[in-house]
Symmetry: C2
Subunit: 142 residues, 2 copies
DNA sequence: GTATTATATTTGACTGGTCAATGGATAGTG
DNA sequence: CACTATCCATTGACCAGTCAAATATAATAC
């Protein structure tokens, strides 16, 4: 018996396929990986932040965060120092250099997203965002 | 000047964050990685298929396909043989074993997706699927 | 019929994520 | 005050994707 796969069942694959396509293209277009861009974005609106709270904000494994930040540090865009009051935690912040570069990156990001969503109404973007948030909470307990 | 980031700009990050969360959970729940599941699914409704057309169907780099298929071959779920009429191409097919296993995997997949979309109406699922398709075509030219 | 070009698969180097284990620092408890 | 818990960051091992280069075969052009 042949038996095809429903739209529901394929949603996951569509999701994965789309992000797999997006990631390298984003990086080519903007000159920075999506994850590093997100880290810089998070730092942009703050002075100094715990590495662990930064990690929770971007929802990537701590090991990857450590590596990204080290890289961003050696490239001069972020600064890191230990919290003198608690030597376990590390404070992360943007350098002046990083603060300037993020502005450029942000332009590229906006261009990319605008292209990707050029035929989307604002309501659709909202709906999409909401649905993703719901999916996130629906699987968060797993 | 502090300057926050719009919903549009954050869509990408939301996307990436969600797939990053989904992938390991899917694998834990179903016992197979999403990519391998997709490969098996594709093979389920066919007799024999070119590796290259399979690759285009799942939209993953050929290098990764080769590695996945080799793994699935040594685990006894797929068979591969060269096309006698064109020794460049490789025919891939499910083994009996693979054909049985995919049925189980599919159950797990449905359970997982059902949980993830449990509060979605069918119309929402359709809308989501359509939007992803549009995004895909919107960035395909890049 | 050879030379070139194109196609299919494979391999290697690299990136970025996961988990599990480690080390150092702090907090809580008897 | 020790002793245990916990927390934070790091490290190592692994997996899955990318690109680019290599290989082998087929198709095309002269």
């Amino acid at each position: 018996m042949s038996c095809s796969f429903s739209k529901q069942e394929q949603i996951l694959q569509q999701f994965k396929g789309l992000t797999n396509q997006i990631s390298p293209k984003f990086e080519r277009c903007t000159g920075i990986s999506a994850s590093r861009y997100e880290l810089l974005s998070q730092l942009y609106n703050t002075e100094e932040i715990n590495q662990s709270t930064l990690q929770k904000a971007v929802n990537i494994d701590g090991a990857a965060i450590t590596r990204h930040l080290k890289q961003l540090e050696t490239s001069g865009m972020v600064a890191r120092r230990r919290n003198p009051d608690d030597n376990r935690v590390i404070f992360v912040s943007l350098t002046e250099e990083g603060r300037q570069r993020i502005v450029e990156y942000r332009k590229e990001n906006m261009g990319f997203v605008k292209q990707m969503l050029h035929d989307f109404t604002p309501e659709e973007v909202d709906a999409l965002s909401d649905m993703m948030e719901r999916m996130q909470t629906n699987i968060s307990e797993y």
